[in-house]
Amino acid sequence: MEYLIGIQGPDFVLVAADNVAASSIIQMKHDYDKMFKLSEKILLLCVGEAGDTVQFAEYIQKNVQLYKMRNGYELSPAAAANFTRKNLADYLRSRTPYHVNLLLAGYDETDGPGLYYMDHLSALAKAPFAAHGYGAFLTLSILDRYYRPDLTREEAVDLLKKCLEELNKRFILNLPSFTVRLIDKDGIHDMEKLPVVPK
């Protein structure tokens, strides 16, 4: 039901998430933000079971902030991703595993942009583009076909729009709008919400 997508460019990462908070067949909220700001240049996108998402994401968020307070400098995106994965893995075989699927997007001064895909079984993969949810089945092939490592920002947004149009065309569930954000060396930028107008 929920959908996350991330596209990495040469010096930025573009991420988008749908805005629906649902409970069985009802949309409780149409403007729900599924992105959690871990630090100035790292975003965590989190979907999955009710309650687990917010609790886990806020736990990671506060721990990343704590690291910064204790040590004086921030965790890099790679370190934050591995920290997140380790926490997922530790809880996986406990009585209370977190059933969440995540995308972590960040910009590192030395390594540049990074997009990390994590799932509820605690897999971690650094990928040039990634998606979560049923919508991923429809859009990953579009990303495979049109993605290039040297996309400009405008081209990445166009690619994202292509994916969202496909969702609107073929996905049976209505996802009326998406929050879109871009991370680059200057931090996290809010871009205008993409409402998909049916053709």
Binding site: I26, K29, A50
Partner: protein, 269 residues
């Protein structure tokens, strides 16, 4: 914070807790959540020990058959609920109070297990009062709902059934949060919870504007509950209407659904 730690830490009576196993066995401990210390015997809340494959045996009756709604508008928050309790197809009561008065400026609604809702919201009232005493200011609706959400998250998967809306007025204006036992906590302008919620959504969505007058908003809430009781077999009784404004909440009206039906039918004619 878990129930046992809340009660242990904040009350002088339980300063000397002794390690005495529960008569029934503490479900918390068995779940391995690390609550090793037992609480004083008088606080036996009888959490059923959770064994494997225990789920099908639970036969607790729940108030899912209900319609509750709340929405924000310029003059505060309207809270409207029905008052029917059903056990299967038997109507157990037509006069249930489904709005819980947490404190003079916070209201909670009840859907799901009646005991779960009233117990946890009473505990929330306690936490809110402690916050007030410690910080010398009223707790915000966001903080109150977060306290409730965190409390019930500890018991996720253990059979709690609660779908509540925390409504109040704080320094940011009217506040409305939906919290349930699954772990959802969502801020919004309009929520409807229960078996009749979909019918209520239809009416409120088509009639809601931010600039309603108090009278119009009350009528909208009343009408939505009435329509839901008309279509949903598990909702009925009376419509209890509350309004939350800057000075706290007030009980607006209690009207029997049959009287409303007669009134609306005569208006149509």
């Amino acid at each position: 914070m878990a129930l046992s730690s809340v009660l242990r830490s904040e009350s002088a009576d339980f300063a000397d807790s002794f390690n005495q196993p529960f008569a029934h066995g503490c479900g918390l401990k068995q779940a391995g959540l690390g609550f090793g210390e037992a609480v004083d015997d008088s606080l036996n809340f009888a959490v059923k020990p959770l064994g494997e494959g225990d789920e099908p045996e639970r036969k607790i009756e729940f108030l899912h058959g209900t319609t509750t709604l709340a929405f924000k508008f310029q003059h505060g928050v309207i809270v409207a609920v029905d008052s029917r309790a059903t056990a299967g197809s038997y109507i157990a009561s037509q006069t249930v109070k489904k709005v819980i008065e947490i404190n003079p400026y916070l209201l909670g609604t009840m859907a799901g297990g009646a005991a779960d809702c009233s117990f946890w919201e009473r505990l929330l009232a306690r936490q809110c009062r402690i916050y007030e005493l410690r910080n010398k200011e009223r707790i915000s609706v966001a903080a109150a709902s977060k306290l409730l959400a965190n409390m019930v998250y500890q018991y996720k998967g253990m059979g709690l059934s609660m779908g509540t809306m925390v409504c109040g007025w704080d320094k940011r204006g009217p506040g409305l949060y939906y919290v349930d036992s699954e772990g959802n906590r969502v801020c919004g302008d309009l929520f409807a919870v229960g078996s009749g919620s979909m019918y209520a959504y239809g009416v409120v969505d088509s009639g809601l504007r931010h600039d309603l007058t108090v009278e119009e908003a009350c009528d909208l809430g009343r009408r939505a509950i009435y329509q839901a009781t008309y279509r949903d077999a598990y909702s009925g009784g009376q419509v209890n209407l509350y309004r939350v404004h800057s000075d706290g909440w007030e009980r607006v009206s209690q009207e029997d659904v049959l009287q409303l039906h007669i009134k609306y039918e005569s208006e149509k004619a």
